[in-house]
């Protein structure tokens, strides 16, 4: 039988605040064990939590950027579970009045993945299992998280990956998290069930815990789809269970079944007051949001006339986009500028991190000047590329490479002379071209560019050459 995949994601995003959610300890990554701690985040009796304003503000930002409604009244709840990474034996989270509800993330296809809710909560400590002991470090305990719960709108592993990447991009754009999956600042739990194609009822679901890479999510979902489909084909039932994904074997295995499902006994947190978020505050946060990634992408394509593929190389990197837009503010051509960034600057940036940081030796105004020479036809685009490469290397301004006389261009007379010279100096190429080898004209161009030190207009030269070779 053919089955349809039904999936929803619970995504944890670590917020990049300076202090923890309920105390003024630093959230800095690393540090010697238990040195970023105080009585509050180690769960000492009598210690009282005080909610961090920035955590609420970042949750509002995240909510507005994903088209959520922001609840003006929101409160914390206790989620009880007993494990050494949680010293109080409960996690302070949110249950029935989260900060945000009812949003969505739009995929490239236009399909909207619903966001059920976004709530704030504290992270747990880190456990190291060794020599029959568990060693606990509470430095991460109390670091603020938002949990973004999606609707079961995802119907393929690829959609899950795209949803997650979109989410990651949005959170980075609005500056609430660096979303580094490899460092654990973004993790996802994946819910999966299958149903016969066309059916409207949901099948029994399983949940794969703590996934930390989009590509592994795709693999895990594919594996889980196959596993469930096989069971259903044999007429067997799916057991509702929490699973762990084993990366090395590409399999899932059971952590716990339905019978030992946790009962968290949620109840309102009595140590923290209910929070009132005034409408004006929500409006203020909304006004402070930057242009969101999808909007930027569309503007680049529709208004600036970039190709989708070029736009996709620029908009995901906040610093590149900022640089690019500053260049454009000098009134130069969007396409030439984009091509020089994507074609030339990117050639010097090897890693994603380097693109992300985008600290280059050429100031925006210098690139704009270079582009303006291309725009006005004074400089060939290819010549501009090679000049830009040298500028990136040396950090020198455009004026160090382009002299006034270079910019005058060639008169038609001079160009014609050069073309005649090229023909005279390359009898072999001329012969080949006349024999029907169109490509042979290329070596004439090469000669021409060399002779003119890049000043020759290729299009004009081609017309003249073809005329002369008739």
């Amino acid at each position: 039988m053919k089955y349809e995949l039904v999936s929803g994601l619970e995504t944890h995003v670590e917020l990049s605040t300076a202090t923890k959610i309920f105390c003024s300890c630093t959230t800095a990554f690393g540090g010697a064990p238990n040195t970023h701690c105080c009585p509050v985040c180690t769960g000492m009796p009598g210690a009282l939590p005080i909610l961090n304003q920035k955590v609420v503000e970042y949750a509002i930002r995240a909510g507005l950027a994903t088209h959520c409604t922001i609840n003006e009244i929101t409160h914390m709840d206790r989620k009880n579970y007993c494990y050494p990474d949680l010293p109080k034996a409960y996690q302070i989270s949110q249950f029935d009045e989260p900060v945000c509800e009812h949003g969505y993330v739009e995929l490239d296809s236009g399909k909207k993945i619903g966001i059920t809710r976004i709530h704030i909560e504290e992270d747990a400590g880190k456990l190291v299992h060794e020599r029959g002991f568990t060693f606990v470090d509470y430095n991460r305990g109390g670091v603020p998280l938002i949990e973004i719960v999606s609707e079961p709108d995802i119907s393929s592993p690829e959609e899950a990956k795209e949803y997650l990447e979109k989410l990651q991009l949005i959170m980075r754009y609005i500056g609430v998290s660096d979303c580094k999956m490899q460092e654990g600042s973004m993790r996802a739990d994946v819910n999966i069930s299958l149903r016969p194609v066309g059916s409207k009822t949901l099948g029994t679901r399983t949940e794969i815990k703590n996934m930390s890479s989009p590509s592994f999510i795709v693999k895990a979902m594919q594996y889980e789809y196959e596993r469930q489909a096989e069971l259903l084909d044999r007429g067997e039932e799916i057991e509702q269970a929490t699973l762990r994904y084993n990366e090395s074997e590409n399999t899932t295995s059971k952590m716990r079944g339905k019978e030992d499902a946790q009962d968290y006994r949620y109840f309102p947190e009595p140590d923290i007051l209910t929070v009132h978020i005034p409408k004006e505050k929500i409006e203020e946060v909304k006004a402070s949001l930057p242009e969101l990634p999808t909007d930027k992408f569309r503007r680049y394509v529709r208004e600036l006339g970039l190709s989708e593929s070029t736009a996709k190389l620029i908009y995901p990197y906040r610093n590149v986009a900022r640089y690019y837009e500053t260049v454009l503010s000098k009134g130069v051509s969007p396409r030439t500028s984009a091509n020089l960034i994507v074609g030339t600057v990117y050639a010097t940036l090897k890693t994603e991190e380097e693109k992300e940081a985008f600290s280059i030796a050429v100031p925006e105004a210098e690139l704009a000047l270079l582009v303006s020479y291309v725009d006005s036809g004074k400089l060939q685009a290819s010549k501009a590329g090679s000049i830009l490469l040298q500028m990136l290397e040396s950090g020198k301004p455009v004026s160090a490479y382009v002299r006034e006389e270079d910019l005058k261009g060639l008169s038609d007379e001079e160009l014609k002379k050069l073309c005649e010279g090229a023909i005279a100096a390359n009898p072999k190429a001329v012969e080949d071209f006349k024999a029907g080898k169109q490509k042979a004209i290329g070596s004439l161009f090469g000669f021409l560019m060399k002779q003119s030190r890049g000043k020759a207009d290729v299009k004009k030269a081609e017309v003249i050459l073809r005329e002369l070779l008739k």
Partner: protein, 95 residues
């Protein structure tokens, strides 16, 4: 407001606790003091504007600012354990 011995007995029953007559006498006195203490809180609350919901709701602006402060109790937090490289050790036992 003081509690009567009958009320104390009722409370003890609700809390599933048993007391001797002597203990009840002591408790009645203690409880009276506790309630009296609570009354001083009530009295000070009474001086604040009436109908204010301040006790239940915190305004966004009044939440804690995101500024790091070193806790003066960081060392004491780990002082009552035999710290192994600064970690809290937990013995694992199979149940």
């Amino acid at each position: 407001m003081a509690l009567t011995e009958t009320e104390i007995k009722r409370l003890a029953w609700l809390a599933k606790l048993k007391f001797t007559e002597e203990e009840l006498a002591v408790l009645t006195e203690d409880m009276a003091e506790i309630i009296e203490f609570a009354d001083t809180i009530n009295a000070s609350v009474g001086t604040l504007p009436a109908g204010n919901d301040f006790a239940r709701v915190c305004e966004f602006d009044d939440l804690r600012k995101d500024e790091v402060q070193e806790s003066n109790l960081s060392e004491e937090v780990t002082s009552n354990i035999e710290a192994e490289d600064g970690f809290f050790p937990v013995r694992r036992r199979s149940l």
